[in-house]
């Protein structure tokens, strides 16, 4: 199961990268970037997952001599932070898209090549 999720995550990353590089509409590029970001988050969660592990919430002390199969909480905490940051970045990108559209009345990425060389 976790392999399917891992592969899904990696596929999303690649799809996102493909989208960033080949789609011409900047609005969709931002969506592609969000896909890329989501893919990374999925990979992170998967890597931190322990098969058949419990959620890292302990309601009683574990019995002496046994180690309960608990999922590592750190990656999950990281993913939360990463989602928040991703949200911020996506929002800022959309603001940029808005500004760019207001400026040139176009969403085509090729109309924004004023800076070169």
């Amino acid at each position: 199961m976790e392999y399917i999720i891992l592969i899904t995550g990696l596929a999303l990353i690649l799809m996102g990268l493909y989208g960033i590089m080949y789609i011409k509409n900047i609005f969709r590029i931002v969506i592609a970037f969000a896909l890329f970001d989501t893919g990374i988050n999925i990979v992170m969660v998967t890597i931190g997952y322990l098969r058949n592990g419990m959620a890292p919430i302990l309601d009683k002390m574990p019995t002496e001599g046994t180690t309960p199969a608990i999922v590592d909480p750190v990656p999950q905490a990281l993913v939360l932070t990463s989602i928040v940051i991703g949200l911020g970045v996506s929002a800022l990108m959309l603001t940029y898209v808005l500004k760019l559209y207001e400026d040139k009345k176009s969403l085509d990425i090729n109309s924004f090549k004023d800076l070169k060389w």
Partner: protein
């Protein structure tokens, strides 16, 4: 002590509070903003103080009292204190600079600015990799907000590119973090390092992802289009922050995480990426005309340089940090200052920077910042580069040295073009600009930091003994009184130099070589300065620069170590550059002068490096024992010195530079400055010694170069119409004789070389002084527009006549001594073929000498010159002093030549000349200067008397008696007999001086620029291409580092 956590607390607290302020509280927000940044500066500054003065221990802070991974670990050690202080000082000054703009945009802008500075601070301090990720992201977001400040279309595009690419790189970072955490079980950087992730194939991918993400952040060439656009489009005030604060922080972060891949060849790859970035960015910058984009390329290039230094840390050892710091601090101060100046000028093209001339303070700082970037003394980067190159050479890393020097040279190409535009470019109307105090203060503060750090690092590197403080302080003193009239500064300068000569002289006892050159350098300085009394006004900037050149020259004489020599060599180069560029049309010539000079200086630097590496001894005598690539080292040194003596192939800068210089600068740079190259060559040849198997070919080749230089120089002079250029070409020819003579490595050859050196100093000073004075008086350089000056300027005529008798080598004057010794030497050495060329060149010299004296003094007086008077006495006085010198040297050469003979005798096996009074005898014959003087003098007087007696009966030919006049007045100049007087010779022999070498260098520079133009096409402006570059960069780096490609 205020805990470093308050840096975060204050900045975040303020930023959130300011978000709550309405428009009513705007003023309070502004005050809080500046006060907040001030307190950040204070906190980091007091930590720095504490580390430096009290040598405190590194402080580690666990937030909220937990241990990692549940808490964030911040570290405040010495390095962090340095970096955060740098960031906060730049942040505070930058805020002052941007204040009106931020204020206009409202609280939100200030808030974002605070967040940017805060996140940069945390990135430096944090020891936790995830925390690092978070604050790098916050920094990117804040920066993307700041880019919007200008509200221009280009800024939107740049910000979008920046967001996308930095988003991708932080995605990779995140993946790397999670993998690395999986393998190391910790989020602190140090634990990850200890887990040796790189060592195992599976976990090496984690290390790879982390490292590559940080490399991308530093904008490696060519995957950096997205970064350059930010510099181009953002407000220069923001550019300054990115370049000074942001880049310093990313470098330090990179330095922290580098040990993650501390194994195999990873560091080597990092150094390679840095080197490619350093060369590539500078190359592309050569075609850039937009100042901000140019600064962007230069910033990225400098970061690449530093990345390379960090990559070489295994080689550099404990010197790594101090070397990188000296380069970083120069970059930091210079880039911030330059971006800020750019913001004041607000020009789209570097050509418009000529407006900077209106504000001498800014122009001065601009020059200082550029020289700091290139690495001229006394700036920290000079010492950093010196130390770097010596260490690399010692460890045998020659190819890295070549990379550094080539990239630095390319950097010089565009920086000096820019400086030239600012100082000299003709502009119909200089664009107006305002310099408000709140923008001037930050720039001046950066200037102060730069000079302060120069002094401090000189102390840290213990380079103090290399610097001759007295002359430098004198230069500063003259600089301080620059507002006074020229004659006062002239008097002070002459008195200062005279005193210093008096002070220095006893220390040179028993060192005739240095006595001769101090005579040429300082005696020449005094004489040429006397001519300066003829100039009116304040001559702003002239005296500090002239004295800087002379201070450098004196330093060469006093130098005991290679560092001292090189320091002063660069000082002299900088001073002379500013002197040369003062001429009206000198911009392109000063540019080619400085490019040849820095290329030569780098050749010398590498030669010194090889010598140092061989001997681990920094003294000049290490040159005699070079064991590492000796033939290459000697050749590099020779080429370096020959850029100053303008030998064939390296001579093309000279005619313009000397010909277009001001009338009293020409003698300084010709009669005096060229001798610095000669002095260098003499030191080099003395170190090489006779029969050194590593230099036999070199000396033979140099002999040919000298002979051909003489021919080309003299031929070039023949076809000149411009009087000063004629003299300039003549200098090339004379320096060719000198080079040729010294390559003999025989007693006679060296004696001839010294005679030529002394003669050239005297007659070229006279000629440039007098002809320069005449050119100013007549308002033209063209000889065909002159004529008949013999009656108007009899003293000038006699001075020129005597000088050309010396050049021509006609008895009884000292030129003959030179020739006599010279042909003796040629015959003894057996270099007949080269000797024949020299002999032929000597005949050619008569052609231009005749042309000079005939066109200017004889021939027909021009209508517009009928009221011309003799040139200023201030020019004639030094000339006649030199004439007295020539007369004494001619009549009694033994008083100088015999001691020289004694001095050089120990260096060469056989004694080949014996002196009996004024009678010199060699195996080939004898020569008695005093007798010749008496005989020729008597014959001359008799003939003169006879002529005068005859002329009593002669018929006076009036000027318009065209039967006798050989030219027709009131006709276009082309009908003047002197115009193109040697057309026939030109037809026959002109091919020799066809501008082949100039064409060669032109083709070289065109090709370089073409290549740069072709390379920069990768910056197509498309976000998607830039993304592709980044992905390709990652793939290639992966294949090389892990894939084992």
């Amino acid at each position: 002590m205020v805990a470093p956590i308050y840096i975060i607390a204050i900045a975040l607290g303020l930023a959130f509070t300011m978000g709550l302020f309405g428009k009513q509280l705007k003023n309070i927000a502004g005050v809080l903003f500046i006060a907040g940044l001030g307190s950040l500066t204070f906190i980091s500054g007091q930590w720095l103080w504490n580390f430096m003065v009290n040598s405190a221990a590194t402080e580690i802070i666990y937030t909220a009292g937990f241990k990692p991974p549940f808490a964030i670990v911040l570290q405040m050690g010495f390095e962090e204190a340095v970096l955060t202080t740098m960031i906060n000082v730049a942040g505070l000054l930058g805020a002052l600079y941007l204040f009106p703009l931020l204020d206009k945009k409202g609280n939100n802008a200030m808030m974002v600015y605070l967040i940017f500075i805060m996140s940069t601070n945390v990135a430096v301090m944090t020891s936790d990799i995830f925390n690092l990720f978070v604050f790098t992201e916050v920094e990117s977001i804040a920066l993307a907000g700041l880019i919007l400040l200008t509200g221009q279309s280009k800024a939107f595009q740049a910000g979008m590119k920046y967001l996308i690419v930095s988003g991708i790189s932080s995605g990779l970072l995140l993946l790397g973090i999670i993998f690395a955490y999986q393998f190391s079980g910790s989020l602190t950087i140090i634990d990850m390092i200890n887990a040796n992730l790189w060592a195992v194939k599976a976990s090496s991918i984690a290390a790879f992802l982390l490292i590559v993400a940080f490399i991308i952040e530093m904008k490696p060439f060519p995957a950096n289009g997205w970064g350059i656009d930010v510099y181009t489009a953002a407000h220069p005030g923001i550019g300054a922050m990115v370049s000074a604060a942001g880049a310093s922080a990313s470098l330090y972060v990179f330095y922290k995480v580098m040990p993650l891949v501390n194994g195999n060849d990873w560091y080597y790859f990092i150094a390679l990426i840095g080197a490619i970035t350093f060369v590539g960015s500078n190359l592309v910058a050569t075609r850039q005309e937009n100042p901000n984009r140019l600064l962007g390329y230069s910033s990225i290039g400098q970061v690449g340089f530093l990345m390379m230094i960090l990559g070489l840390q295994d080689v550099l050892g404990e010197r790594t940090l101090i070397i990188s710091f000296s380069i970083l601090i120069s970059h930091y101060a210079a880039k911030a200052g330059l971006f800020w100046i750019s913001g004041i000028l607000n020009a789209e093209n570097i050509k418009d920077w000529s407006a900077l001339r209106k504000n001498p303070i800014l122009l001065f700082l601009f020059g200082a910042f550029l020289f700091a970037l290139i690495g001229f003394p006394p700036f920290p980067s000079f010492f950093g580069k010196w130390e770097l190159i010596m260490t690399l050479s010692q460890t045998g890393n020659y190819s890295w040295i070549v990379v550094i020097l080539v990239a630095s040279f390319i950097e010089g190409i565009y920086l000096f073009r820019w400086l030239g535009y600012a100082i000299k470019l003709d502009h119909a109307q200089l664009p107006a600009f305002k310099t408000p105090w709140y923008q001037l203060i930050p720039i001046m503060s950066m200037g102060l930091i730069l000079f302060g750090m120069s002094a401090y690092l000189t102390h840290v590197f213990n380079f103090g003994p290399a610097i001759n403080y007295i002359p430098l302080l004198f230069v500063l003193a003259i600089f301080a009184i620059d507002f006074l009239p020229a004659y006062i500064k002239n008097t002070v300068s002459i008195a200062g130099i005279a005193y210093y000569t008096y002070y220095l002289w006893p220390s040179l006892e028993n060192d005739l070589l240095r006595q001769i050159f101090i005579g040429i350098f300082l005696g020449g300085a005094i004489l040429t300065l006397v001519a300066g009394y003829a100039k009116k006004g304040t001559r702003a900037g002239f005296y500090p620069m002239a004295l800087m050149m002379f201070a450098g020259l004196v330093g060469l004489i006093e130098a005991k170590s290679m560092l001292q020599f090189f320091f002063n060599w660069e000082l002299m180069t900088a001073g002379s550059y500013f002197l040369i560029i003062r001429g009206k049309r000198s911009m392109p010539h000063a540019y080619s002068y400085i490019l040849f000079s820095i290329a030569g200086a780098y050749a010398i630097l590498m030669g010194f490096g090889l010598a140092y590496g061989s001997q681990l001894n920094g003294n000049l005598d290490a040159l005699s024992q070079i064991s590492l690539l000796p033939a290459l080292a000697y050749s590099l040194l020779a080429v370096g010195f020959m850029t100053k003596t303008a030998s064939l192939g390296l001579h093309i800068w000279l005619p313009g530079a000397h010909g277009e210089a001001e009338s009293d600068v020409s003698p300084m740079v010709s009669a005096i400055l060229l001798k610095a190259g000669v002095f260098g060559l003499i030191l080099l040849f003395l170190s090489i010694g006779v029969d050194n198997p590593n230099a036999t070919t070199l000396l033979y080749v140099l002999g040919w170069v000298g002979a051909l230089t003489t021919l080309i120089g003299n031929m070039g002079a023949v076809f000149q119409e411009d009087a000063k250029r004629l003299l300039a070409y003549s200098s090339i020819g004379q320096l060719g004789y000198i080079l040729f003579a010294f390559t003999f490595m025989t007693h006679m050859g060296w004696l001839a070389g010294f005679t030529y050196t002394i003669n050239h100093f005297m007659f070229k000073a006279i000629l440039f002084l007098v002809i320069g004075g005449i050119v100013v008086k007549l308002g033209t350089h063209n000889m065909y527009e002159m004529g008949g000056m013999i009656k108007k300027m009899p003293f000038s005529f006699i001075a020129v006549l005597i000088s050309i008798i010396v050049i021509g080598g006609i008895p009884p004057l000292s030129g003959f001594a030179g020739k006599w010794l010279f042909y003796n030497a040629v015959i003894e050495k057996g270099w007949y073929f080269q000797g024949a060329i020299i002999f032929f060149a000597g005949i050619v010299a008569f052609l231009y000498l005749f042309k000079l004296i005939y066109s200017v003094f004889l021939g027909q007086l021009k209508d517009n010159h009928r009221n011309v008077k003799e040139i200023s006495a201030w020019i004639l006085i030094p000339s006649y002093i030199l004439i007295i010198g020539i007369m004494i040297f001619s009549a009694f050469p033994q008083y100088i030549l015999q001691p020289i003979s004694d001095m050089i005798a120990p260096h060469f096996q056989s004694e080949t000349i014996t002196w009996t009074g004024s009678l010199a005898t060699t195996s080939l014959g004898y020569w008695d200067a005093t007798t010749i003087m008496i005989v020729v003098g008597t014959a001359f007087m008799l003939l003169l008397g006879w002529l005068i007696w005859l002329s009593a009966k002669a018929q006076k030919v009036e000027q318009f008696n065209i039967v006798f006049a050989a030219e027709r007045p009131f006709r276009p100049e082309t009908t003047h007999v002197s115009y193109n007087i040697y057309a026939g010779y030109q037809k026959a022999l002109g091919w020799i001086v066809a501008p082949g070498i100039t064409n060669f260098w032109n083709t070289m520079s065109t090709n370089l620029l073409e290549f740069a133009g072709w390379t920069r096409r990768i910056y197509s402006g498309s976000i998607q291409n830039y993304t592709l570059h980044v992905i390709l960069f990652i793939v290639v780096f992966y294949l090389i580092s892990i894939g084992g490609l």
